[in-house]
């Protein structure tokens, strides 16, 4: 009232701008009122939408804006559950509501989610409080605002956000260290058990595996997993030692027998004693000591000499008889642990491998196993383990496992030649 014309103009413009700012509210007044909205998200990015709106009992047909076109499996039902006829144009759905008091829109859409690496983003603008259920196993990684509710529904985490421009970020497939540790423990237990069933004594590997289990029980999953893997590695190394010790004992035994048959009885008793110690350590699973004593026995047998007098000769004969008995006893023990006796090595004899027969009998062979068999076929049906390792450039433990598979499948047999392991295709697969 105390304002000039200019002042009144300003106030008019101000009033006008204030009025204009309320226009969206006016537009929002539709033939329907949003009641509730729920999005259930799935791990492939699909969002299942359930949108409930209150409608006018006087309306035969209404137009409702829904979220995230294009959509699949859109079904609209009235408050009695009757499916209604509709037509769509982009986000607008015209429904023959025929006086329904409530309409429920159910559909699937994939246009509300995007993915970057393992992080998914869900974006939507909503006119009503919105419940978002995350995929199973998903973890929230951010959201546009503080939710009014948050919790777990079955196996899904959910959040409820106020209406507006909503964004929810979530991750699927986060590393599950607990599960990985459990898997490593199971695998280690299985692997070590298999080796033990073959007669190997794996004390150290068992001990490490026990530590791994203890770490798992105290929720130290990463360390547990590392320990479990170490247990497997230790078991493999121990088995490799065992194989080597087995070979060394065999070599020492042959040396002792040779010395005995040659009448080199001086020092032979020490060799026999070392050989027995090696055998004892082997049976106890102390393969390193077994190798040491086997080597010692070999050297003692190699350096044994013939006696210089008749009395010594007689004594030597008696000793030889004793050693023969001991040797026989030892060989019986070794044989008890050894696979069926092999074919005598005779490289002069041509051995043509029947690859077709092997592959027909063993159709589930791994690719690398087949390659090794082909290699053996091209090497007169046999090769040393070291040759296989060199040829395929694989570690000792891997080669050992591969050869064990072929032995277990009765495709090849393994024999010790000195300090070497000879792998031969079995006779039944020769032409």
């Amino acid at each position: 009232m105390f304002m000039g014309p200019m002042g009144r103009t300003f106030f008019f413009i101000a009033f006008l701008s204030l009025s204009l700012s309320t226009i969206p509210l006016s537009w929002a007044q539709e033939d329907y009122t949003p009641v509730s909205l729920t999005f259930t998200l799935y791990s492939d990015g699909t969002a299942r939408t359930e949108y409930l709106v209150a409608s006018d009992a006087l309306q035969a047909r209404i137009e409702v804006e829904i979220f995230g076109p294009p959509y699949n499996h859109l079904v609209i039902r009235d408050d009695e559950g009757n499916p209604l006829v509709y037509s769509t144009e982009e986000a607008n759905v015209t429904v023959d509501s025929l006086g329904a008091l409530e309409l429920t829109f159910t559909y699937l859409t994939m246009s509300l989610t995007t993915k970057e690496g393992i992080v998914w983003t869900f974006n939507v603008s909503t006119p009503v409080s919105t419940r978002i259920k995350l995929p199973e196993g998903a973890a929230i990684f951010d959201m546009s605002d503080i939710p009014t509710d948050i919790g777990v529904d079955g196996s899904r985490q959910y959040i409820v956000l106020e209406p507006g421009d909503l964004s929810v970020y979530y991750m699927i497939g986060l590393p599950d260290v607990e599960r990985e540790a459990q898997e490593a423990l199971t695998e280690a237990e299985s692997h070590i058990g298999d080796l033990e069933s073959m007669g190997y004594v794996l004390t150290e590997a068992r001990s490490i595996l026990s530590q791994a289990q203890g770490l798992y029980d105290s929720d130290q999953y990463v360390e547990s997993k590392n320990r479990a893997e170490l247990a497997v590695k230790t078991a493999d190394e121990t088995v490799e030692d065992a194989v080597n010790a087995y070979g060394d004992i065999g070599r020492a035994s042959e040396a002792v027998s040779r010395a005995s048959s040659d009448g080199r009885t001086d020092g032979l008793a020490e060799a026999q004693s070392s050989l027995e110690a090696a055998s004892t350590y082997y049976s106890e699973g102390n393969y390193a000591e077994a190798r040491t004593y086997a080597l010692q026995a070999y050297q003692q047998a190699a350096t044994a000499v013939a006696p210089k007098s008749n009395s010594l000769l007689y004594a030597g004969i008696l000793l030889l008889a004793g050693l023969g008995g001991g040797g026989y006893y030892y060989m019986q023990r070794i044989k008890a642990k050894e696979p069926p006796s092999g074919v005598p090595v005779d490289s002069s004899q041509a051995r043509e491998v029947n690859l077709d027969l092997i592959f027909w009998h063993h159709q589930d062979l791994r690719l690398e196993d087949k390659e090794v068999i082909r290699f053996l076929a091209g090497s007169n049906g046999e090769a040393f383990a070291s040759e296989i390792r060199d040829r395929f450039e694989i570690p000792r433990s891997s080669a050992w496992r591969l050869i064990r598979r072929l032995v277990n499948n009765e495709i090849v047999e393994e024999r010790k030649i000195g300090n070497q392991s000879l792998v031969r295709v079995r006779d039944k697969y020769l032409k």
Partner: protein, 364 residues
Amino acid sequence: MKTKLLALALLLVLLSAPLAQVVYAEEPTGGDDAGDGTDGDGAGDDTNGDGDDGGNGNIDPFVYQQIKEDTEARWWNLYYLYTGQQGDGDDGDGDGDDGGTGEYDGPEIPEDLDPELRNQLMNAWMEMKQAAEMEGENLQTAAQQHLRVMKILRNTWRKYQKDNPDIVDDTTEPPDETGDGGEDDLPPDPTEAELTDIQEQLVKRFQERFRESVTAMFQFYNDVEGDLDPDDAMKAYNALYHTEKKLLQIQERIYAGDFEGTIDDLEEAGSDLDDEYGDMDDPQSAQLFRTATKLQAKIEKMIEKKERKEAQGEDTSGEDDLINQLRGNVDKAKNDHKENKGKGNDNSNGNGKDKEKKPKKEKD
């Protein structure tokens, strides 16, 4: 001059008001940007801000706790992923070095980790600690702080993902989920035949309810006629009369089994009724008829529902209550209108002659 300045200031304030939300929405995450050039992923990528909502907010303590736990879990998830070390949810034992900041007291982060990731992990940890300290003062602000931490972590993830595509690939195996795409959770889509059959029933029932509503509105008209301007009374009567006529025509077609175009006609009948109410001179009277017609339609719908439930032997007390409530609303609208008129708040031309005029009702 003072008035003009005041007016100008007010104008500027009013004009800038709608922009406030935009400015809010674009607020960055503070000084915690990973700085890898990958920050900012478009609209909606921010919380509402700084947590400065004034006061303790009304956040549910349970909700806050969940946000806090989720944030901390993400921190440990990423810590494990980036460092390959154990992330057991331990609260930190103070063995972490401070990275030169003198503040970090979380678990040790290896020196060989990318410096940017290392710094961001430490920042996020310290922000989580600050949020925890704020819990006693303002839970809402503390919650906002946790959301800021999530953003920092998300930025670290972007960088890590960019730098380690192979490792990320190893972690992207989604868990097995029954009904992965959601289709299994949906009931089967109705068939065309089912839809057509149901629609014909619904059209018939809607037409009947509409007609019942109009019949009830004639009674309503009689009740309020005395309170209406004679011209408006005539317009209201004619609106109802026209609508009834159209509905009867539609009914004849429906009974003859001709449903073609009936929904269009029913929609048009409703629209025309609304338009004719709009022709009334007194907006309050027009609004009264509109409101009463809608309420009446809802009453008819509830009566129909009640009858159906009664036929099935179900309890109908809920429907009875609602029907009574709706009827009460009709009476209230009627009374409010009458009172307004009684207070002289009528929109007639005031010469008193119109009051004497009887409405000229159309003849068929």
